[in-house]
């Protein structure tokens, strides 16, 4: 568990460092995610060495974004003023994305 959490933190640091160094317009943790995927694919690290911590983190991901949800209490005025736009984005844009994605996958897949 400790070793796997260490690996995940290491890839997070790697992503953040590269983003900082090259002023990349992508979040450091996304870069870390891409690098850990590549390292696993090329067998630089083994799945067993990262799986324990990865599974725990994914399992509790919802808990980790609770504080951002609570942060909405500072923005009730925005919701009150723009609820129409928010509702439209949630319903119409999500429906269209579902249909476009599902349709393309269905006609192309084997």
């Amino acid at each position: 568990m400790l070793k796997s959490l260490g690996y995940i933190m290491l890839f997070l640091i790697l992503g953040e460092a590269l983003r900082h160094l090259f002023h990349l317009p992508v979040a450091g943790n996304i870069l870390g995610m891409i690098f850990i995927f590549l390292a696993l694919r090329t067998r630089i690290i083994s799945l067993d060495s990262v799986k324990p911590a990865a599974d725990k983190l994914l399992n509790y991901m919802v808990l980790f974004f609770v504080p951002y949800g609570v942060g909405l209490m500072n923005h009730f005025d925005v919701v009150r003023e723009h609820w129409g736009a928010l509702a439209l984005v949630v319903t119409v844009s999500t429906s269209m994305t579902l249909i476009i994605t599902g349709y393309i996958q269905q006609i192309l897949e084997k």
Partner: protein, 233 residues
């Protein structure tokens, strides 16, 4: 004493964990889609903070120790991607085409509809990444100077919408393939929506899981670039 406790980070960390723990129990008991742990936990904590007249900044002195783990969670998605990669191998190109086109469409549909509604720039910046998993959406919003709390709320709503209406909408439009349903749920409504894919079948869940990762990457890379192109916003 009361003042000391209510403004102490450890108390709010404890309350967040305790409320989330109870919310999971309630969720299992009720089996009602709106009673998701995240919705219950956030509502209870907001009501509690308002009732005790504690501001968010005080709460977040403790809360930020919890939300810190979103960073490593995104890295952990890379591990999930690797684990499920073999299940999509036979359909690699269709899958990547569907997720990329779907993800890009999502960004443009949001941008164009908000421009049409004449919404202010900070709304556009907060919603551009609304289809992807919460930690990635929050990071992307920070990068383009939106308001992460608004992103979090909309992303959760998108997930619940996808969870409830995703499969009926897809079926109404003739999309019946298990793999296509999974891909669509993962691309449009991230983890909360994809939870529904488990009812459809194993391959729907696998395609959904990888679609979450791939659209996360597509959106994280493209939103800052596209918003740069729409520099009048």
């Amino acid at each position: 004493m009361k003042e000391y406790l209510l403004t102490s980070p450890m108390v709010w960390i404890f309350l967040t964990l305790a409320v989330y723990f109870l919310a999971q129990k309630v969720h299992v008991k009720l089996k009602w889609v709106l009673a998701t742990p995240i919705l219950i936990t956030v509502s209870v904590l907001i009501v509690l903070l308002l009732a005790l007249d504690i501001d968010f900044e005080t709460y977040d002195q403790g809360g930020r120790y919890i939300s810190f783990f979103l960073g490593p969670s995104v890295v952990a998605l890379g591990v999930l991607f690797h684990e499920k990669y073999d299940e999509i191998k036979s359909n690699l190109i269709p899958f990547f085409a569907a997720v990329t086109i779907g993800g890009v469409s999502s960004i443009f549909i949001v941008l164009l509809s908000l421009i049409w509604l004449e919404s202010p720039s900070f709304i556009v910046r907060s919603l551009a990444a609304k289809s992807v998993t919460t930690p990635i959406a929050i990071e992307t919003t920070k990068l383009v100077s939106g308001i992460p709390a608004i992103t979090a709320a909309v992303v959760i709503a998108v997930g619940i919408f996808g969870n409830v209406f995703g499969v009926p909408i897809l079926r109404a439009f003739g999309i019946k393939s298990e793999m296509a349903i999974g891909t669509a749920l993962g691309t449009a409504s991230h983890g909360i929506g994809t939870a529904r894919a488990l009812d459809i079948g194993r391959s729907a869940a696998a395609y959904g899981g990888i679609a979450i990762c791939v659209n996360g990457v597509v959106t994280a890379i493209l939103v800052p670039l596209i918003l740069d192109g729409f520099n009048f916003l």
